[in-house]
Assembly symmetry: C2
Homo-oligomer: 332 residues x 2
């Protein structure tokens, strides 16, 4: 009997951070598809910032944490290798929550069949969590209007880069906040953003003022950090703040405080946090909204691919260092 | 020719705070109503926290500041004493923005005729800014549902006391935050709130936990101050935060920071600031919503009445000290 590798979470993140000490690598038999099931060979796994949250024993989060001893949760891309399910055939390319393992048996629920010519990078970078998150947050919460100004943090990240390109395609002025000159160059010269700010710069406030002469109408927050205060200060009347991620504060014991709420009243701002599990029932509508932008070539992406299942364990740390260039993907 | 008194704003609030040094008392001729106009004798003026904002030269606020040299802006209750306007008759009771003066000439715009038996206290405490603000914020932003828990700060204030009573009438558990034992007693024993917390207590967090065993679904914020963090910490998933006032921070140079936004995501919270000038076109609908509660005796109020036009100048300070018991009204 052949075996496969899988990685289980066996401890909660502690002061040592995230790494191999939290996980256990196991060999298990490759399962078979029973009646009504498919066996999928996963070829690419997605690493997403939300996974940091799933590792913590936080009962307040939007989906339950991964239980200790369970295979680590993740979404991925794969190919059907056995099918006893009427809607799937051997060779189908699929997307779904498969976890950190090489083979996955499913009854088909939550597994989405892709076009035959879809490659793994585009599927995981655009049509999976990042693109759905960008579409939901930007259009349904941010409510962008042509001529307005949008600022997005984590602008070279998997969600931020799509948010900015969609807003740009809709006629907004788009400024991105990033953590390196290379990323600043990429979002401006490759993605077409109107401007970029490196949050490590010493003149954040001045740069932001120069790049947003008409103030800011939509603030799409992926990171937190001190620049949040500068962006908040420049919000326009009736501005919208989309709170999607706070990666800068996820692992601190005392998360940084946020701006005083007086401008919420004076400028009648709206701020809304969201998480995709609330919106999975809207995925068909979100894809319907997103797909035309992609088909018209308005959504570029780049994948940062790690090699081998085991690379996922340390790979998550790239979200904190910001050293990844593009959507983090693990190729199996 | 008879004269009337009026009070003009002649300086911006400074480190000496608010008081007579910012104003000038003047005697001017009582005007006459020309064709299409009415002359109103104002008998009661309303003092509202928003007036503090109108005194500051803050271009970001929702309505322009009162210009230096102009009569101080305020809403009030009065009686038509001359009419050349087809829709008003001598003796009509009216509500409108009349300013700190005894007589006011209007073309009728923004002047609302009241039922003949409406008294000034009820008109200014319930059917003017406080009731409209409570109705807009609670129903259109807070979206309360029977069985939920609402916490309102400034709960014995003109807006907060109405918010709590409307929510209670709709079947919510209602907890009010106040600044004295007398006010705590009033909102619980007279208004029927389920509980009260004196924000000067040493055990805020523990009291709040005990009084909101099922967490908090709607947070109606009128004050700011440290208890904001405790309330925010207890928000439930999909909770709504209505930001209506921040009186604790209006006069500080460095307003206190607010809670980190991570729970906005984890709990998918919505926070919205509002100000009534955005909603003046909705006043008929707001009154339609509010009136049945009042008619059914579900909205009690109390007025704290100062005597004489000049008392308004120092009277505004009661918003900071919290010493007023009920809606602040100046009787002329």
């Amino acid at each position: 009997m052949s075996t496969q590798k899988e990685i289980r979470l066996i401890a909660r993140p502690d002061e040592r951070g995230i790494g191999a000490h939290l996980f256990e690598l196991a060999q298990t038999p490759i399962p078979s598809a029973k009646a009504g099931e498919v066996l999928i060979k996963q070829t690419h796994m997605s690493l997403d910032p939300a996974m940091i949250g799933w590792m913590h024993p936080d009962t307040e989060s939007y989906i339950p944490p991964v239980a200790l001893g369970d295979v680590m949760r993740s979404s991925g891309f794969g190919e059907v290798v056995e099918s006893q399910h009427p809607e799937f055939s051997v060779g189908d390319k699929v997307l779904g929550m498969m976890g950190w393992r090489e083979y996955f048996v499913s009854n088909g629920q939550g597994i989405n069949k892709l076009q035959a010519d879809m490659n793994a990078e585009m599927a995981l970078s655009v049509f999976a969590l990042p693109g759905l998150t960008a579409t939901q947050g930007l259009f349904n919460i941010g409510k962008p209007q042509a001529g307005e100004t949008l600022v997005v943090t984590g602008a070279a990240g998997s969600v931020g880069s799509i948010v900015g390109q969609l807003a740009k395609a809709d006629g907004l002025r788009v400024i991105g906040v990033v953590g390196s000159e290379e990323k600043a160059d990429w979002i401006v010269n490759e993605l077409g953003f109107d401007g970029a700010i490196n949050y490590k710069s010493e003149h954040l406030s001045q740069q932001l003022t120069e790049l947003t002469p008409d103030g800011i109408d939509v603030f799409f927050e992926n990171t937190g950090g001190p620049i949040q205060h500068h962006i908040f200060d420049r919000m326009n009347t009736h501005g919208r703040i989309v709170v999607c991620g706070m990666i800068a504060d996820y692992t601190t014991n005392e998360p940084a405080l946020a701006p005083n709420w007086i401008p919420m009243i004076k400028k009648r701002l709206t701020m809304q946090g969201f998480a995709m599990p609330d919106h999975f029932h809207q995925v068909p509508q979100l894809l319907e909204k997103l797909t035309p932008y992609v088909m018209q070539g308005k959504v570029k992406y780049r994948a940062h691919t790690l090699q081998g299942l085991e690379s996922a364990m340390e790979g998550l740390n790239l979200f904190f260092s910001g050293e990844n260039k593009g959507k983090l993907i693990v190729e199996l």
